[in-house]
Each structure stands twice: as structure tokens, then as C-alpha cells.
């Protein structure tokens, strides 16, 4: 078996494999729903209805998509430069911690001053957190996959420590949660009366900005060049290590915004279950988007819809909500193969 590049892929060649991958994902989900004793059509119908079937469902999906856009962008930016940032979860929590530190009364500022300051400081925390593994990679050759992964575990323990100690809400009746953010530190709703906060707006702006950076700036070009062939980039005189570090700052900052927006926009407080794995789901979002910043928005909406829909389906049909995670992991793996098939033909020999 060998792969043969297709010189001029036809329209069907370029679009059929990804579509088939999504159809196959639905088949896998249907089969597993049947194994759990559910009717596959009913289960799929309930997922779609739970995701977009009502105003409430739709707003819930948009809210859930918000952190996923941020972590998806963080992963997309890093992976494009072949910086394997698997630590978006830790960076998310670092942003959330900063939001709580600044927003619960330490600063008596008004919203127009406080919120931008919180955004900048959250992003800095996430950026610095990813800078450490990146420096270890560029200076000492330490693989960043494992270090960023292990930092996720360390940060969850750190949050647990803070919530039982210095950040514990004195009015929290013993629950491990932080004090609530002041009204000045909360992100307002986009439209009065609709449960959707400005975090979603910031996420869309971030996606647009990253798209501009990628396509219109030399930095965007440099990140791509480093990812495509670091040796060639170095030979061409690019400061590869510096570009790697700038990429890390951008990626870590984006992931931290997810934590900031969840605390300041949605929850108003920090708990240990702030993120049900948004950092890891960001990898799926970025890969389904083929690392394209605007694609990240679409993929995040899809992934959020599957999660929200599966939650409501699970309550109605009794099929475990982990069906959503299976669907997304399957979609990720099939999409990677599908993308290969858009460019290559598999030949027997």
C-alpha cells in the first residue's frame, strides 16, 4: 500500500471525504445508541432538538461554544506552528484565577477600566504559562506535549488548593468555590433579556483578528513557515525560536480568555468544574476546523451543539451523555483520514 498525490483534485475529491466522515460519525453514534437500548432516529432527533430546537437551546449552544472558540483558536494557532500545546486546560484555569483575583473586590474600578485590565492580565497569565514549556522546548529540547499535559493536572490541583484556601468564599457554606465577581467585573449581556454574554462577542472578534494575523501579516506567515518546515525557515534567516515563543504567548493568551470569559461572563465565580475539558475539546475544534480561525467558530458551534444536545437527549432517552464525546473523537479521527484522502489516493502494490 502506498499514497499517491493527486495533482489537481476535483471538486468531489475535495468535498466528498469530509462529508462522508461526518456521515460515518452519525452511523457510529446511531449504532452505539442502539447498543444502549435507544432508538437511533429518536436519539439523533433529540440531540438536534436539544442543541438548536428552541431559543433556550440555541442560546445554551452559543454560550457553550464561547470557551471552545477560545481554546480552539489557541490550539489552531499553536498547531499551525507545530507547537503542540495540549495545555489549554491549564491556561484556561490560569485566566480564570486572574479574573477572580482582580474581580472580587481587590480593585475598586469601574467596568470600562476593570474589564480591559482583567482581559490583559488573564491573557498574560496564560501566555506566561505556555512560555515555560516553550522555553524548555527551544532551550533544552524538552518535549512540550508531556510538559503541557502534566501542567493541566498541576493546575487543577492548584485551583483546588486555592478554592479550599485563599480564594475560598467565606459565604460559600463550605463549598469549594470563590467569592462572586463584583458587578463591575462582569461581562454584560449582548442583548438585554437574552442569556448570552459579551464573551461570545469577544470570541468572534478574536477569531477575526487571528484570521487577519494569519493571512495579512508577516508574523502569520512566519508562524506557518516555522510549522511547515522549521529547518527551511531557519535557513531563510527567520528567528525560529523567537517565533515559537511569540506563538506560545498568543496561544496561551487565547486559552486564558476562555477561563476569563467563563468566570466574568457566564458563571460569575470559580469552581473546580468550571471547565468540563474545554482545553481538550479545543483540540477537536481546531482539527475539525483544519486549523482555520474562522473555521474554528463553525467547529466550536458544532461541538457545543453536540454537547448541549447530548445532555438534553440523555435526560430524555437515558442514553449516556458520553455519546457526545465518542461522536467528537470519532469525527476527529475520521476527519484526519478524510483530509488525507482529499489530497492523496491510496494505491495497492
Amino acid at each position: 500500500m502506498r499514497l499517491e498525490a493527486i495533482p489537481n483534485p476535483s471538486l468531489s475529491r475535495r468535498f466528498l471525504p469530509p462529508i462522508l466522515a461526518l456521515i460515518a460519525t452519525v452511523f457510529v453514534a446511531s449504532f452505539l445508541a442502539m447498543v444502549a437500548g435507544g432508538n437511533p432516529f429518536a436519539v439523533l432527533g433529540l440531540i438536534i432538538k436539544g442543541a438548536v430546537g428552541s431559543k433556550f437551546a440555541l442560546l445554551e449552544t452559543l454560550n457553550r461554544a464561547t470557551p471552545l472558540i477560545f481554546t480552539g483558536l489557541a490550539v489552531a494557532v499553536a498547531f499551525r506552528a507545530k507547537l503542540w500545546n495540549i495545555g489549554a486546560e491549564a491556561q484556561l484555569y490560569s485566566g480564570a484565577i486572574v479574573a477572580v483575583l482582580m474581580g472580587t473586590g481587590a480593585l475598586a474600578w469601574s467596568s470600562p477600566a476593570l474589564i480591559p485590565a482583567m482581559i490583559i492580565c488573564s491573557m498574560s497569565a496564560g501566555a506566561l504559562l505556555l512560555l515555560i514549556p516553550t522555553l524548555l522546548k527551544t532551550r533544552l529540547g524538552v518535549d512540550e506535549v508531556v510538559t503541557t499535559l502534566l501542567l493541566n493536572f498541576i493546575f487543577l490541583l492548584l485551583v483546588s488548593l486555592l478554592l479550599e484556601g485563599p480564594l475560598k468564599d467565606p459565604m460559600g457554606m463550605g463549598w469549594p468555590k470563590s467569592a462572586r465577581l463584583l458587578a463591575e467585573a462582569r461581562l454584560p449581556r449582548i442583548v438585554d433579556g437574552l442569556r448570552l454574554h459579551w464573551g461570545f462577542g469577544i470570541a468572534l472578534i478574536a477569531a477575526f483578528v487571528i484570521w487577519i494575523v494569519n493571512t495579512k501579516t508577516t508574523f502569520g506567515y512566519a508562524m506557518r513557515a516555522v510549522g511547515y518546515n522549521a529547518e527551511a525557515a531557519r535557513y531563510a534567516g527567520m528567528p525560529v525560536n523567537l517565533i515559537m515563543m511569540q506563538t506560545a504567548l498568543l496561544s496561551g493568551g487565547l486559552a486564558a480568555l476562555a477561563g476569563f470569559s467563563e468566570v466574568a461572563g457566564l458563571k460569575g465565580t470559580l469552581t473546580l468544574d468550571l471547565s468540563p475539558g474545554f482545553g481538550y475539546s479545543g483540540i477537536i475544534v481546531a482539527m475539525l476546523a483544519l486549523l482555520h480561525p474562522l473555521g474554528v467558530v463553525v467547529a466550536a458551534l458544532f461541538v457545543a451543539g453536540v454537547f448541549v444536545g447530548a445532555d438534553s437527549m440523555s435526560r430524555a432517552a437515558g442514553v449516556p451523555t458520553y455519546l457526545a464525546d465518542i461522536m467528537l473523537a470519532t469525527a476527529l479521527l475520521l476527519m484526519v483520514v478524510a483530509v488525507l484522502l482529499t489530497k492523496f489516493r491510496i494505491m495497492r502494490d
Binding site: M1, R2, L3, L32, V35, A36, G37, W84, I86, L136, L140, G141, V142, D143, V145, V146, T147, L149, L150, L151, F153, I154, L157, L158, S160, L161, E164, G165, Y280, I283, I284, M287, G318, P320, Y322, L323, D325, I326, L328, A329, T330, L332, L333, V336, V337, L340, I346, D349
Partner: protein, 314 residues
């Protein structure tokens, strides 16, 4: 003095070897994959699957060894999925590996919920009991701790010896190492690069699943969510720490486990009472990062690690 006394008790070293056992099995699995040139980030998920399947096999009456065998087979199947994507198709080992971890973990949790919908506390099984191998007690220092372990620990130690023997003393091992260093040279000999790599990933993944099964069949007697808890990632660090050599990785796992056993005892001591327990739980992860930092400089990484091989390409 209290701290030093911890190291001198036999029960401390017995615990250290018990904690090391799943790490040893999974680390050998990862090491075999990486020596053949494939980074297997599916390890965490494969361990979760192995933990559940091994326990489930015993729970439905296949017996403990039936559970072990089932875990090994499921691990090999997940390895086959990994290899067919990363080796045959040459896809990104990072993305596929993480995808397999996500898939195996979610499939496992789904299967647990479907198979046991009504349970509130995880059902228990009759786990492996320590067997007494009196003769091992004569080995200096570690002897007494080695003599009272469960069968899976002896299997883990045997795995190290077998891995080491096969890698360095057999033609198959030579071919495997060469496939991770210079696959073209192997292809020039008329051997199948893809076949060797697929075989290594399949067997290695089987061992990872055994590492997971140790947790439910030997260390504990039930399956619960989050029980693997990053052990897979620690194993990847241990492979680097051991410079891709079985005996060094084995020693690394023992050292790591000794440290883990130590922090558990320190938590219970008078000194540990004033320190938040989360600090202790963080220490193994910090230790893994520190080990990576110390060892990465001079590590002899397999030259073709993460480099896909395409036939006929120079």
C-alpha cells in the same frame, strides 16, 4: 528523623513496587512503540480502556486472568487502530494519539454507564492477592519488598526482562531498533518497515492496557472514572527519563513510585499535617517535568521517531 525512617521500612518498598507496576507495564509498551519510531499518545486512553475491560472481564465471571487477557486484546485492537492511521497512512502521531485517547476514554465511560446503569457505588471484584515468593527475599535491599507482590507485578518485571532481551539479543529486536533509527536500511534488507512498526504499536498498546488493568485487578478492586489520572503521560516522561532503554526506564518507574509512596506517607506524618494535601499530589507531576528537563539534554532519541515512512521515498 521521622522522614528517614520512612525509607527503612519494608512496607514502604512493598508499596513503591506496587505503585510502580502499572507504570512499568505501560512504560515498556510506550518504549517499544517509540523504539520502532512511533510516539503513542493513545497511552492514557488505552490504560483507561484496559482498566475497565480487565475489571469487567473479571466481573462477568471470566476470572482474573481472563480479564487480563481481555485487556491485552482490547489494547492491541486500539493499537491496531493507531498503527493503521499513523504507520500505514502516515498521519500526525500527535493528533491521532490524542484522538485515540479521547475515543478510548469516552467509549470506556459510555460502556461502563451502559453495562452498569443502576449502580451508585462501583461494584467490587475479588482482586489478585499477594503471593509469597520466599526465595526473592534473599535479594539484597529490594528482596523483602519483592517477595510479597501480586502476580501482575511479577508479570511486569518479566516484561522488562523480555523487552530488554528481545530488543538487544534477537534479530527481531535489531530490526525493531533499526526501524526507529533508519527505516530505509531495514527496507533495503527486504524487511517490512510498516509491518515491524505496526507490530510494535500493537504489542506496545497491549502492554499499556495491561498497565491499566493492574489498577482494577491488583491495586484496587473496582473501576471508577478518572482512575488513570495522568499515569499514561507520566509513562511517556519515564521513557524519556530512561533514555529509551528498558532497564533504565524500569529504574525510573521504581524511583518515581518510591517518591509517590514517600509523599503519601509524608502527608500522614506530623510534618505533612500543616501542608495542603494538593501540594503532595502535585509533586509526582512536578517530578516528571523535572525528570524530562534533566534527561532531555543528552537523550538519544530514536532518530526516526515521529517520522512516517513512505515506501520508495528517499
Amino acid at each position: 528523623m521521622e522522614i528517614l525512617e520512612i525509607f527503612l521500612t519494608a512496607s514502604f518498598w512493598t508499596a513503591a513496587i506496587r505503585i510502580a507496576s502499572p507504570l512499568i507495564l505501560a512504560t515498556m509498551g510506550e518504549l517499544i512503540c517509540e523504539r520502532a519510531g512511533v510516539l503513542n499518545l493513545g497511552i492514557e486512553g488505552i490504560m483507561v480502556a484496559g482498566a475497565f475491560v480487565g475489571w469487567f472481564g473479571a466481573y462477568i465471571g471470566m476470572g482474573l486472568w481472563g480479564g487480563v487477557l481481555l485487556a491485552f486484546v482490547v489494547g492491541m485492537l486500539l493499537g491496531l487502530l493507531h498503527a493503521s492511521m499513523t504507520v500505514s497512512l502516515g498521519l500526525s502521531q500527535h493528533v491521532v494519539g490524542l484522538g485515540i485517547t479521547l475515543l478510548a476514554t469516552s467509549l470506556t465511560y459510555y460502556a461502563y454507564r451502559v453495562a452498569l446503569p443502576e449502580v451508585t457505588s462501583p461494584p467490587k471484584i475479588e482482586a489478585f492477592q499477594p503471593i509469597s515468593v520466599a526465595i526473592l527475599a534473599y535479594i539484597p535491599i529490594l528482596g523483602p519488598a519483592l517477595a510479597e507482590q501480586t502476580p501482575l507485578t511479577y508479570l511486569a518485571i518479566a516484561t522488562v526482562l523480555i523487552t530488554s532481551f528481545v530488543l538487544y539479543r534477537t534479530p527481531l529486536g535489531l530490526a525493531l531498533r533499526a526501524v526507529g533509527e533508519n527505516p530505509s536500511s531495514v527496507a533495503a534488507q527486504g524487511l517490512s518497515v510498516l509491518g515491524l512498526r505496526i507490530g510494535a504499536v500493537v504489542v506496545g498498546s497491549g502492554l499499556m492496557a495491561l498497565g491499566g488493568a493492574f489498577l482494577t485487578l491488583s491495586a484496587f478492586d473496582s473501576f471508577f472514572f478518572g482512575m488513570v489520572n495522568g499515569r499514561g503521560w507520566v509513562c511517556i516522561a519515564l521513557v524519556v527519563f530512561g533514555a529509551w532503554k528498558p532497564h533504565k526506564a524500569f529504574l525510573g518507574a521504581i524511583l518515581f513510585a518510591a517518591f509517590d509512596a514517600f509523599q503519601i506517607r509524608l502527608q500522614q506524618s506530623t510534618i505533612g499535617a500543616d501542608i495542603p494535601y494538593q501540594i503532595f499530589l502535585m509533586m509526582p507531576y512536578f517530578l516528571s517535568i523535572a525528570a524530562l528537563v534533566v534527561m532531555s539534554r543528552k537523550a538519544e532519541v530514536p532518530a526516526a521517531l515521529m517520522v512516517p515512512f513512505y515506501k520508495g521515498e528517499r
